[in-house]
């Protein structure tokens, strides 16, 4: 059995809001193995970004975390001190944020911001850092790298900002890359180039990745395994090809069904009725999807489904597979 590079067991995150505490993540358990890319999918507001923020210890101030285990290479992450974190972030684990502007300092040129990572973690000379920075900028497909080096973030287009954020994350050769929607602002041609770069890094440096995306095309292209999240729970998990071919959870099925494409032009797109309940409206101890599920039956409103192994690494949390007759369609 391989040892995972990252293990998370029974992690809960809740928020202190004005009128009480509300759970945003419940019993999150998963591992990432060396040289593996794990995808996370799920509707907006399901807790994908929070999961990664919890791992990196950068949750908002009003968040409370509990967990049984959260280990990176056998080191418990939550016990690290600020100083240790600074060593780890950027070099061992790096993060590409969902909104690139949130990670970029508007007052510093992008070249400096990319080079900063090397300045902190290596003893390279100034020239060496600049050289590597420009190389990295080219690798992520930034045009006119020498000129852009001196630009400020607001002078870049959305997709360029995103590539700067990617360059910052990749420049120090991290072992674990956490990428939150890293290609959303990119057009397909550049997306293809970035995905190829990720793959190359995976193959050459044997890095691992957590890859959040809502684009199943991207997920299929780059991920080995995928976690499907709904309202703070992981409801299904398994190899990507397996999940796409043979989704078990009613939620996963609906997600796959609502992918838009040109063949559906003029038709209403399929949507899952209702919406992800806001934190305050979530029910505890029942199937989180019950209110929107067309296969819902009595058990669903009474207890939380257990994790059921379908085969190999494919698991699902749905009463249909433990109490019901399964789902055939």
């Amino acid at each position: 059995m391989r040892t995972p590079i990252l293990t998370v067991e029974n992690m809960n995150v809740s928020f202190e809001l004005v009128n009480g505490n509300y759970k945003a993540l419940e019993n999150i358990t998963f591992s990432v193995y060396p040289n593996e890319v794990v995808g996370i999918v799920g509707e907006s507001g399901c807790g994908k970004s929070l999961t990664t923020q919890a791992i990196l210890g950068i949750l908002p101030k009003n968040a409370i975390v509990e967990y049984e285990k959260m280990e990176y290479k056998q080191v418990s992450l939550r016990e690290l001190r600020d100083k240790d974190w600074r060593e780890i972030r950027g070099k061992d684990i790096s993060m590409i944020f969902q909104e690139p502007m949130s990670a970029l300092n508007p007052l510093i040129t992008v070249g400096k911001q990319i080079g900063e990572v090397l300045k902190v973690h290596t003893s390279y000379s100034k020239d060496e850092i600049k050289k590597r920075t420009i190389e990295m900028m080219k690798k992520v497909g930034l045009p006119r790298a020498e000129e852009l080096y001196k630009s400020y973030p607001h002078q870049l287009s959305g997709g360029m900002q995103q590539r700067v954020a990617i360059a910052i994350a990749l420049i120090a050769d991290p072992d674990l890359i956490i990428a939150d929607e890293p290609t959303t602002a990119l057009d397909v041609t550049i997306q293809a180039q970035i995905l190829a770069l990720f793959k190359k890094i995976k193959n050459e440096q044997k890095s691992s990745m957590i890859f959040i995306s809502h684009d199943w095309g991207v997920i299929r292209n780059i991920c080995d395994r995928v976690l499907v999240m709904y309202a703070g729970h992981i409801v299904e998990e398994g190899a990507v090809s397996e999940i796409l071919k043979n989704p078990k959870h009613p939620y996963t099925k609906s997600l796959i069904q609502s992918i838009p494409d040109h063949r559906k032009r003029g038709m209403e797109l399929f949507t899952i009725p209702g919406k992800v309940p806001s934190l305050q409206d979530r029910k505890i101890g029942v199937c989180p999807f019950a209110d929107r599920c067309s296969h819902c039956f009595d058990a669903c409103h009474i207890e939380m489904p257990m994790t059921k192994e379908i085969e190999g690494t494919h698991t699902v949390k749905c009463h249909l597979y433990t109490k019901g007759a399964g789902l055939t369609s």
């Binding site: 001190r81 600020d82 100083k83 300092n105 508007p106 007052l107 607001h154």
Partner: protein
Amino acid sequence: MNLKKAKSIPFYIGVGLIVFLLLVMIISIFYTPYDPNAMDSANRLAAPSMEHLFGTDNFGRDILSRIMEGSQTAFIIGISSVTIGFIFGFLFGAIAGYFGGWFDEVISRFIDAMLAFPGILLAIMLIAVFNTGMTNTIIALGIMSIPSFARITRSSFIQYKEYDFVKASIAKGAGSFRIIFQHILPNAVSPILVAVALSFSGAVLSESGLSYLGLGVQPPDPSWGRMLKEAQAYIASAPWYVILTGLAITFLVLGFNLLADGLRDKQDRKA
């Protein structure tokens, strides 16, 4: 976590110093151990004792009472000159930064020119024009702090007007007034607060300097700077006079500087 706390300690010391001196100032309005101007020729340059905790000066006046009363002057000058500097500096900086164009050119040149002078020299020149006294000192120090406020405001405005949330509001039809006061100001508050703290300590220091030179606050208004000058003559025979007066100035200046540093740190950490 620990690191954050450790970093905050100077900040809280700063706040502590300011609050303490503020209390002293408020108390001094209603109560001082002695009449600060009552002379007692039998008791000149007395060392600190139970009757005179800080000793007495060359006229036998109670130093503690005088320092307490002097704090009023320090705060009045600090608050008023910062207010003047802030109002005009903010206005000029905001207009220059937000609208740009020729007005910005003029203001920027003006700021540069004013910042090129050592502040105290500028104040001395202004005093030469306006004459000495409390009000004129306030005006001079107020004018002296305009450029730093203008510069900080201007750069915040230049930075934020590029932000999409400002553009988003313009796109919805918002006028300049709304953009300046509802969108940019709330975001620019922290750098401006830093400037307020810094220019407060600058004003206190400059007032002491001016009064020390005899150019600032004139008798009978009490002033730490003037006390320091008087004390200097007796540095050998009554060292506590110089030390205690100097400490009062230092504490107030230090308090605001630590506050400014702490605010700046907090701001950096958020970014």
